[in-house]
Structures are given as structure tokens and as C-alpha cells.
Amino acid sequence: MTVDVRRSPLAELAGELAAVGGPGSVRFAERPFRVQVELRAAADAPVSRLYEALALMLPRGVGYVASTGDRDALCLAPRWWLVTQSPEPAPVLESALAGRLRTAGGAAVSAVDVSAQRTTIDVTGPNARDVLAHGCSVDLHPRAFGPGRCTQTALAKAQVVLQQLDRAPTFRVLVRASFARYLAEWLLDAATEYVG
């Protein structure tokens, strides 16, 4: 039997995050230890074959997400993707991806496990958009953003990957581990006026 000694960046704040707000305003939850693999492809890499290898649909372009079950592929920039899925022993996804991608893309592609780089905070509820708007200048209004979209930007001056999951709305914030505590405390502060 192996003992899980991992400690998520927001473990100490889990109680506080869970205690704030409710279904009528905004709620926060850390989703610790999600698997993240970054893909980078050279200019001549066969991108559509990469997606076949991942069993994912091709996103429409930068800023869009292709989801298959629990696995999301976020297109962060031209020829740069972040694949995330729920926790599992990380090397499994990385080696599986790397193997399949090597077959599909050859040396023009790299797949690197970056699971420890970021942690995930889900922000959900009718006021989620208002809370994020306190520190994020990207237009998250439904006419400009929506489920299946993602973007990299600054939230309260911390670099984040922002993804919208559903119309509740639920936003998924992927933040660097070293910024997680700062950002979580900022979110709790920004939510003060909505959670009464």
C-alpha cells in the first residue's frame, strides 16, 4: 500500500473556501492534484493527427477547449495546448500521451507533465462573473465568452488560465502553486460583498 503524502497548495484554506457563499451567490472549491500535461508542437507538426492520437475533437482555435469525458484540451496559443484531467498517478497520462504523440507527430511534438505547476480553483454561482471581474479585465460576458472557452490572462495580477465549464456559470481558474494562496485569499476578499 502506498501512502499519499501529497499536500495541495490550498490544503490549509480548504475549510475557508468551502465555508464561503452558497448556491445563490458564489462558491469556491479547490480541485487538487488534477493531471496536467503540456503539449508543444513545431510549426510543421501534423496537428489534426495529434488530436486523433488524443481521441479529442480539434478545438476551433486558440481560446477554445475540446472535452472528451473528463479530459480537456485547452488551446492556449498556436501549437500550445494544456491537457487536464482528474487526478491519477500523473506519469500514466504523460507516458501514454507521449507514446501516442510520438507515433503521430514524431520529433515535432513534446508532451511534458506539469501537474505540480498549477492548482485548480473552481468558482461557481450567479456572482462568479462579478467576483472575477474585480481583478480580471477580460470580457467574460456571455456574448464574448462561454462554456468551452479558455484564456490566459492576469487575475488580480497573478497569471492564470481561465476556463468556463458551464452556464451556472462555473469558471475554472488554474493558478501557479506559489500564487495559489494569494489568489485564494484575494478571491475570498473579492467575494465579501456577494456572500453577505
Binding site: A77, V138, A154
Partner: protein
């Protein structure tokens, strides 16, 4: 604050970007053959026009890609965002 249109991410605040100076300054084809005057010309002298100016930006907080825009140095109007290497 400038509102800069990234060719991939759309319009974003200036604070998400870093500036890269004038676009289209070519590296000398044979750097060893360039004398000091021409080398300092290459390194330091820019066109600095009053009016439309081709310049480079990098979207540091976003997609981290370099691109070229045409900015008016008086009105700060920005046009024609495009990836490096593509002309308008």
C-alpha cells in the same frame, strides 16, 4: 492605458504585454563585416516617426507570442495586428 489587440487572444490591457521596439530591423547579414558605426546604427538608431509606426509586442501574460502592430505615435491608435512575418 493602451488596449492592444493580440492576433490570437483579442483586445487586452497593455499591462499584459511587453514592448519589443521597432519591427523589421534586420540583423546584419554578415555581422563580422559590419563596422562600429553601422553596428551602433543597427543597435540603437530607430526611425522614431511622428505618425504611423510598425512595432513589436509580446503577449507576456497570455499566449506569449510576438506580433506586429501599426501604432500612431500621436493618437495611439493601433491597427493591423498580425503574426511576425505576415505583411498587411
Amino acid at each position: 492605458m493602451l488596449y492592444i489587440p493580440c492576433p490570437w487572444c483579442g483586445p487586452r490591457d497593455e499591462t499584459e504585454f511587453r514592448y519589443g521596439g521597432e519591427a523589421g530591423v534586420a540583423y546584419p547579414a554578415d555581422p563580422d563585416a559590419v563596422d562600429d558605426a553601422a553596428w551602433s546604427e543597427y543597435l540603437f538608431v530607430r526611425s522614431n516617426p511622428k505618425g504611423w509606426f510598425e512595432e513589436r509586442w509580446v503577449h507576456t501574460s497570455g499566449c506569449r507570442r510576438w506580433f506586429t502592430v501599426r501604432r500612431h505615435t500621436v493618437s495611439y491608435e493601433i491597427r493591423d495586428p498580425r503574426p511576425i512575418g505576415e505583411s498587411t
